[in-house]
Amino acid sequence: MADAIRTEGLTKDYGESRGLFDLGLEVGAGEIFGYLGPNGAGKTTTIRLLMDMIRPSGGRAEVFGVDCQSHPVEVKRLVGYLPGEMPQWGGLRGRDVVAYVGGLRGHIDPGRVSGLAERLDLDLGRRYREYSSGNKRKLGLLLAFMHPSRLLVLDEPTSGLDPLMQQEFYRLVEEARGEGTTVFLSSHVLSEVERVCERVGILRRGRLVQVARLDELHHLRYHRLEADFVGEVPVDAVRALPGVEQVTVEDHHLSCAVRGGFGPLLQVLGKGQVLNLVTHEPTLEEVFLAYFRDEQEKAPVAPGAAS
């Protein structure tokens, strides 16, 4: 059976080192694949190349063995698509947009539309311009999920959704996988990809730097911890702990990066008098910087080897 997505040397060169370069990627049928990268890394460029919105400077892309550039209509029959930015539908009501896009596709199942609108809590009777950004995103999701497709291509699908709706979206993705649908979703939030994906591809500055199963990415995972002490900071004990890095102390303020569990660190911190304790997930760019600091010698994966 053909891969759901296969690209070979796919390149879109916008000049000045901007674009996508030499992408070799294989996404298996029925897989949920996360496509990670900071803003401007080339995620949307990849998706637009797959959808034949833009033309490659080199290389090729296939969806279920169908060439994206020479047979785009056949590809789109197989795909449900959520663009990164929703189009301007102006004064059309949500129900009109659904009927219009459904008409372009040929047929939609009214029951499926109603079910999705119910689950996403979306009022299709309102005008598009009256929708909040979250509701516009919900409409986009409804349009992507409303017809049976073999592949869902979703560009930053949870952007603008509240946490409850994000959960509903994750359930929709799980159900789609249960029906055998492949899901290719882009994101710049590591935790979101961890929540739903089986494998991830990491893109940086237009190049695929890693493709791995989720459990193989744990070495990327870390948290930042900030703590304020009333008295002295037990800095030596902290520095001696395995998995604790980038330790800095300023007056009575401790800052460090923690890989793995917090248990040993909390035990050490408990020896001092902690006034305030905060942890936060680093941005993807910070993760990459940490990763590349560790792996300075490591070159980007060779084309074709990233599957």
């Binding site: 919105m53 833009i54 930015e85 929703m86 189009p87 059309l92 009109d96 009927a99 009777g125 311009r129």
Partner: protein, 564 residues
């Protein structure tokens, strides 16, 4: 920063250039930039209209006797056109004729500009989310609105100056002179008119909740005021009421006409209307929510809809496009019907005058008929219908460009449809709409014409109607080709094609241009099918433009990048 920090401490780029004054300058510059195309169009019309009128007058009425005769005929013709323009004053002089034919349109032109600017600048910026950005800076709503008014006034003033230069040049071409104060007085009146209409538009923009509804509301008010002025011209009993119409107040200044005068009180009233409406608009803008009407009422719980629309037209190619613009299309059809009904209803009276006036006999003869009334219908109405369908095609091009820029095209071609179908569907929808507009206008013409003693050839009327659709398609083809490469300039390019097409046939005889230059005008290519039959060269050229334009647009659509 503390809560008591002064506003000037919160430095933002908008204000950083030079405090509040720098911010105002930035806002005015931004607003001026948005007026550049409208300024170019109005300045062009303002210069070319008066100049061509003066130059043509010099040729038509070269001697004193000819001028006297021409004046008599124009005076006789005036009442027939009183619904459209004021009665002529001293048409036996170049300045009088130039005012009547070249300048009495200016209030209408600047009124449209004022309305479009008022609803476009404020409401459009709200709908695009720009207003939130402006208001997130330390810049009050009143100041923002006034910066828009200031920019509009500067742009109109520039256009008025160019119109004054065109007027002086036109009068000079007719071997006469006009005083500088007279030009200033005329210009001051036009500027007041523009600001009054801007005020009407701004007030409408506070009362409506969307740009389109503001445009519609302002348009209805403006149309009513225009109609009031027109009715007052033929019914002196309405003169008192007409005083509330800015069109009437602007008509009263005739400073460039020999013996004319500057209506100081009327002009002051124009500025008064502007000041009051702009002040009320500023108050309204301060009180209302963004993206909402000042009159917004709380609505009850609406029923939540979870299903797709059941309108079958939304699922049928071509009809789905027409359904989405049904209200706008209805407006175009009504405009077409109103135009046809008006022209045909004045055909007999105008025709009699044309026949009795020696200078206009050639005009009737050129229309290829012995019936002057028929000449009015066949020449005047079809010329107006051609302009209407061309304007419609330009609005469609604008619609296509905004669809492409707004992401709709991306969503459409993300569905399993070939790209060429997008272009084909646009072309067919344009033709269908143009046929509907032209056909309804023609049916009304054919229905009313017998009551005016005008008998039209049915076959000729059908041909003329079909050619109107071809004319619309020709404009659309040029637009489709341009938006496939340069979507942002498509509408300005088409506007230039339309305006040039309108003026080339006027200038060609004046400057004895060769006949091929005439064929550069799409309106000339349309010809006068009801009077002189099909202009075959024009027909073939239009067909070639359609094939090349939509063919090129289709080829470009196949390879163009969408959403990049």
């Amino acid at each position: 920063m503390t809560a008591t920090a002064p506003a000037s401490d919160t430095s933002v780029p908008l204000m950083a250039a030079g405090g509040e004054r720098g911010g105002v300058r930035t806002m005015v510059r931004y607003a001026l930039r948005t007026h550049r195309w409208a300024f170019a169009a109005v300045a062009f019309i303002g210069f070319v209209g008066p100049y061509s009128t003066g130059a043509s007058y010099a040729k038509l009425a070269a001697t004193a006797a000819a001028r006297a005769s021409f004046g008599r005929q124009t005076t006789a013709l005036g009442p027939q056109l009183a619904y459209l323009v004021p009665l002529p004053l001293r048409p036996d002089t170049v300045a009088g004729y130039l005012w009547w034919k070249g300048l009495t349109w200016m209030p209408l032109v600047v009124a449209v500009w004022g309305l479009a600017a008022a609803t476009g600048l404020i409401r459009n910026e709200e709908e695009r989310g720009l207003m939130e950005t402006w208001l997130a800076t330390p810049f009050s709503r009143v100041r923002l609105l006034l910066s828009r008014v200031g920019a509009f006034a500067i742009a109109v003033l520039g256009a008025v100056v160019i119109t004054a230069i065109g007027t002086a040049a036109g009068i000079a071409a007719g071997k006469a002179t006009v005083t500088f104060p007279a030009l200033v007085e005329q210009g001051v009146s036009v500027l007041g008119m523009a600001l009054a209409c801007l005020g009407i538009g701004l007030a409408a923009a506070q009362l409506a909740s969307t740009r389109r509804s503001a445009l519609a509301l302002g348009g209805v008010v403006m149309l009513a005021l225009y109609a009031l002025d027109a009715l007052a011209r033929v019914n002196p009993g309405l003169d008192g009421w007409a005083a509330i119409s800015p069109f009437h107040l602007a008509d009263l200044t005739t400073a460039v006409v020999p013996g004319g005068h500057f209506a100081g009180a009327a002009t002051l009233a124009l500025y008064g209307i502007a000041v009051v409406l702009i002040a009320l608009s500023a108050l309204g803008f301060q009180r209302r929510d963004l993206l909402a009407s000042l009159l917004r009422r709380r609505t009850g719980e609406a029923r939540v809809v979870r299903s797709a629309s059941t309108v079958p037209l939304l699922r049928i190619p071509v009809l789905r496009s027409l359904w989405q613009q049904r209200i706008g299309l209805a407006g175009w059809v009504i405009g077409s019907v109103a135009g046809a009904a008006f022209i045909v209803s004045i055909a007999r009276g105008t025709g009699k005058l044309l026949k009795s006036a020696g200078g206009f006999k050639n005009y009737v003869a050129a229309a290829g008929t012995s019936s002057a009334a028929t000449a009015v219908v066949t020449s005047v109405w079809l010329s107006i219908a051609a302009v209407i369908v061309a304007a419609y095609a330009i609005t469609q091009t604008s619609h296509w460009a905004s669809e492409d820029a707004g992401g709709r095209l991306e969503m459409e071609i993300a569905q399993p449809i070939a790209r060429w179908r997008v272009v084909a569907e646009r072309a067919v929808a344009l033709v269908v709409a143009a046929v509907v507009m032209a056909a309804v206008g023609s049916v009304v013409t054919a229905a009313i014409a017998p009551s005016q003693g005008v008998h039209l050839d049915t076959g000729g009327l059908v041909t003329a109607t079909a050619l109107l659709a071809l004319l619309a398609l020709t404009f659309g083809a040029v637009g489709a080709l341009v938006i496939s490469r340069l979507p942002r300039v498509a509408v300005p390019v088409l506007a230039v094609v339309a305006v040039a097409g309108f003026y080339i046939p006027l200038f060609a005889p004046l400057f004895t241009w060769p006949s091929w230059v005439l064929n550069l005008s799409l309106f000339h290519l349309y010809g006068a099918p009801l009077t002189t039959g099909v202009y075959w060269t024009g027909l073939w050229v239009m067909l070639a433009i359609v094939v090349l334009g939509f063919g090129g647009a289709t080829a470009a659509m196949r390879v163009r990048e969408v959403g990049s």
